[in-house]
């Protein structure tokens, strides 16, 4: 007969074991709940990456449904348009990370739905093994035309739909071929301002004369001049402190009103207006057009570098009026400025992703155009727009003319420290069913009218049909 003492001792030992097990249980609960997220997201944890590698990445399509990026049977990624589309598609590689739409729309392309991971096994019901397709606003023809137009020269082209903000083309040159970027990564990543820099949204350039439509808008809105006033251009403008502003090529425009001054890109007139506007009003107008803002999301645009308003001398004010000084802007921003005049003073927020489409063909996300800024009034926009039409019909931008299409524009030939002037052309075109705006820069290309405006013509022709 086993005595009660043994049984009591067994119960004590058993309780001790159960307490140990209870402690372990509590610890496991702690691991699986409190600690779970930090463990799951630990950079050394390859499970997330492995789960994503199991998913067949969706395709990137252009506005007409043509393939811009898709997976081959072996899992590698192919980019049919190669380097001409690289600024849009970006790249995606295990070792090099991702950029462009590949990076921004990564979750959509993988079909990862938000916050389903906490549903556990049920999340697998929503997780397909084929990611979603992402349909962009890009028109491949315009993109190709712009890329061909740059013809290997350094520069950038941005084409937008003025009424929606849809990005129709975004080109940066020099470019890279995303098909074999991993093999060339070493060389590419070493270049400071090389192919990996998306000049369309990250490149900072002095706008030169392309800023003049905005200065004209500011001068009229702030009543520092009117349409009737006649400026006398003698070829040079004394801006004080012994500095002068000259016309390019030593031209003399004589007596010009504001419309004529813009058409002929008269530096004397706009230098004068810059000085008349002064710090405060210039700053206000740059802010109205959003030059102090960047963009996030799918279009990572840098904010502009504005002159130090409040401390500017009259020389700097005059230089700002003709787009020089320390003012630096991105091509995307100049396209947005052009959009304000083409779209009744309203700038729509630019976007690239039009739709996200499931493998089954259901559209799960459809981007609606949204307003970004009201830059100016519809009347003022229409007025400046008509000034800009003159630039193309009888001014410096005649190379952008397309028969049967109303084209507006403004040329720019921006002096810069890097050497030869940058050639700019910004403007808009009224096509059958939409109003497009564009900004083109050819780095160190020389004259905007002869180097950049013909590219606009090519882009317009590619979109005409």
């Amino acid at each position: 007969m086993a005595d009660w003492k043994i049984k009591r001792q067994i119960l004590q030992a058993a309780s001790f074991l159960l307490v140990l097990t209870g402690l372990l249980t509590a610890y496991i609960i702690y691991l699986s709940t409190w600690e779970a997220d930090s463990l799951a997201n630990n950079p050394l944890n390859m499970r997330g990456a492995a789960a994503r590698a199991d998913i067949r990445r969706g395709a990137i399509l252009d506005a007409k449904g043509r393939v811009l990026a898709q997976n081959r049977a072996d899992g590698s990624r192919s980019y049919p348009m190669g380097e001409s589309m690289a600024a849009v598609t970006g790249y995606n590689g295990e070792k090099i990370g991702s950029a462009g739409v590949e990076g921004h729309a990564n979750r959509e392309l993988l079909g990862l739905s938000d916050d389903l991971s906490h549903l556990g096994p049920a999340s697998q019901l929503f997780q397909s093994e084929q990611g979603n397709d992402v349909k962009l606003t890009i028109e491949s023809d315009a993109q190709q035309a712009a890329f061909d137009g740059l013809d290997g020269r350094k520069g950038a082209v941005v084409v937008l739909d003025a009424e929606t903000g849809a990005v129709l083309a975004m080109v940066s040159s020099p470019s890279y071929d995303p098909n074999d970027i991993e093999a060339n990564w070493q060389a590419l990543s070493k270049q400071a301002d090389g192919a990996l820099l998306n000049r369309a949204v990250q490149g900072m350039y002095p706008p030169g004369s392309t800023i003049k439509p905005m200065i004209a808008d500011a001068a009229l809105a702030e009543s520092v001049t009117n349409e009737q006033e006649v400026f006398d251009c003698s070829g040079t403008l004394d801006v004080g402190a012994g500095e002068t502003i000259r016309e390019s090529h030593g031209e003399v425009h004589g007596k010009v009103n504001l419309r004529k001054a813009l058409t002929e890109s008269c530096n004397v007139t706009f230098g004068t207006l810059g000085m008349r506007l002064g710090d405060e009003k210039l700053k206000k107008s740059f802010e109205r057009f959003g030059f102090d803002k960047g963009l996030g999301g799918e279009i990572l645009m840098e904010g502009s570098h504005l002159p130090a308003f409040g401390k500017l001398g009259s020389g700097d004010l005059a230089q700002t009026g003709i787009g020089q000084s320390t003012l630096l802007v991105t091509p995307m921003h100049m396209a947005l400025m052009a959009a304000a005049f083409a779209n009744g003073g309203v700038i729509m927020k630019p976007y690239l992703v039009q739709q996200v489409i499931t493998p089954g063909g259901t559209v799960i996300q459809d981007t609606r155009p949204t307003k970004w800024l009201t830059a100016t009034t519809p009347t003022m926009a229409a007025k400046i727009d008509s000034f800009m039409e003159d630039v193309v019909t009888k001014g410096t931008g005649r190379a952008a003319q397309v028969s049967g299409v109303r084209v507006t524009g403004k040329t720019g030939t921006a002096e810069n420290a890097a050497g030869e002037d940058h050639a700019w052309f910004i403007g808009s075109a009224e096509l059958r069913n939409r109003r497009i705006v564009f900004a083109i820069i050819v780095e160190n290309g020389g004259s905007g009218g002869t180097q950049a405006a013909p590219i606009a013509r090519k882009v317009i022709l590619s979109l005409q049909n």
Binding site: A2, K5, Q12, A13, L20, L31, T33, A40, A51, P121
Partner: protein, 423 residues
């Protein structure tokens, strides 16, 4: 005969496990293809054999009026184990089913010949010598597999003597302690605050402790060492109720641990990994760190069976199977398994409390404690609760020796549970 309904349980559980498996075999990105499993014809006969044996055993248990809960609990654990092995190492599925058959047959033998087996309790010293002999075998003829030199390779099969040694040690402790219970509690010597009997009585205990340390240092088998040592301490307390032994044992292990930390590199490595696995997460601590990631990734609900990546953990189908379960089935499943072990333990303790003979009380308590302690040590190891040790998760991990010895323990417990009914 309302208990006959319980017979459906083992069948249902195994069938459920296999149906989950079948779901996974359907197309849809699964890595578990028919080719890997070499077709259902290969494993279905073995599965059928397992189910038939399970039904037979449960029928025997019911007929003999023994504890009807222990076996279904174990089958639950086995089903989870089989399903996990089919998921993790499909090539080993048939092997595991075969081992399960062997284990169940051995268990039937234990149930059948219980009358003779219980007589072994009368020969404690023979048991002790046999145990030392068994554990000593690998020291002489051992082969090192997976970092531990505790394997005997006999032709096509390798066995782990320590898996069977643990049964003998429970027998030995039960027999020896109940024989010498009264002597051991005699306060013959007083050393500081400890009350100790003459040395010759505690010599066998010290012998076991020393063996455990030896196993660790020479065979690098920390898991078994901890298990043997823990069992010795637990059962000594159960039999004597003397805290002096516990203190003595803790002091002993403390000194031994400090000495081996200072003297042996592999001990130091294990301990340092436990203290700070993030120092070398891709090197020495890789296994533990990956195991922790598995727990974190699984979270509460798991990633879903077949949707995790337990393959990152080396040896995931044996020692780390618990981490794989945590990753794919989440906290829910790990809690269920813990509950199964605790329920098993509790039924075992209940059995022990209802036994009449002192030796059998200790044997039953020892058997079920051994199971829980083994599960505790390995689960604590994979979760970094304790330093990592290499032992199997009873009834779940892949491994023949472990499966057979666990079923022997189960057979012993069930046989002991008979007594309560017949008095």
């Amino acid at each position: 005969m309302k208990n006959w309904g319980l017979m459906a349980a083992p069948l249902g559980i195994v069938l459920f496990g296999m149906s989950v498996l079948y779901l996974k075999m359907n197309p849809g990105g699964s890595k578990l293809t028919a080719e890997v499993l070499q077709g259902p014809l290969n494993y279905v006969p073995w599965l059928a054999a397992v189910i038939l044996l399970a039904l037979f055993i449960q029928a025997v248990i019911i007929k003999r009026r023994e504890d009807t809960f222990l076996f279904p609990i174990v089958l639950t654990l086995c089903s989870v184990g089989i399903v996990e092995i089919a998921r993790l190492k499909p090539a080993l599925l048939v092997r595991q089913l075969q081992w399960l058959c062997v284990a169940m047959i051995v268990m039937i033998l234990v149930l059948r010949f219980w009358g003779r087996i219980r007589r072994m309790l009368g020969y404690p010293y023979l048991l002790g010598v046999a145990c030392i002999f068994l554990l000593g075998l690998p020291l002489l003829f051992g082969t090192e597999i997976g970092g531990s030199k505790n394997w005997l390779v006999l032709g096509p099969i390798s066995i782990q003597p320590s898996e069977f040694g643990k049964i003998l040690i429970v027998f030995f402790l039960a027999a020896y302690l109940s024989d010498h219970r009264r002597v051991l509690t005699l306060p013959a010597h007083r050393i500081f605050l400890l009350q100790l009997p003459p040395l010759r009585f505690i010599a066998p205990l010290i012998c076991i402790w020393g063996m455990a340390v030896l196993m660790f240092v020479v065979e690098k088998d920390l898991g078994s060492a901890l298990l043997f040592f823990g069992m010795a301490v637990l059962m000594t307390y159960m039999a004597t109720g003397s805290k002096s032994y516990v203190f003595l044992a803790l002091a002993f292990i403390g000194v031994a641990a400090a000495a081996s930390y200072a003297a042996f590199g592999h001990v130091r490595v294990r301990f340092d990994i436990w203290l700070n696995p993030w120092q070398d997460p891709n090197g020495m601590a890789y296994q533990v760190v990956q195991s922790l990631f598995a727990f974190g990734t699984g979270g509460i609900w798991g990633t879903g069976f077949g949707y995790g990546h337990p393959g990152f953990i080396p040896e995931v189908h044996t020692d780390f199977i618990f981490a794989a379960i945590a990753e794919e089935m989440g906290l829910i499943a790990t809690m269920m398994l813990m509950t199964c072990y605790v329920l098993f333990f509790w039924r075992g303790i209940k059995t022990a409390l209802s036994c009449r003979k002192e030796k059998e009380v200790l044997l039953a308590a020892g058997c079920c404690s051994l199971m829980l302690l083994q599960a505790f040590i390995i689960i604590a190891g994979v979760t970094k609760f304790l330093p990592l040790t290499g032992i199997t998760l009873p009834f779940i991990s892949y491994g023949g020796s472990s499966m057979v010895s666990s079923f022997v323990l189960l057979g012993l417990l069930i046989s002991l549970s008979k007594e309560q009914e017949h008095g």
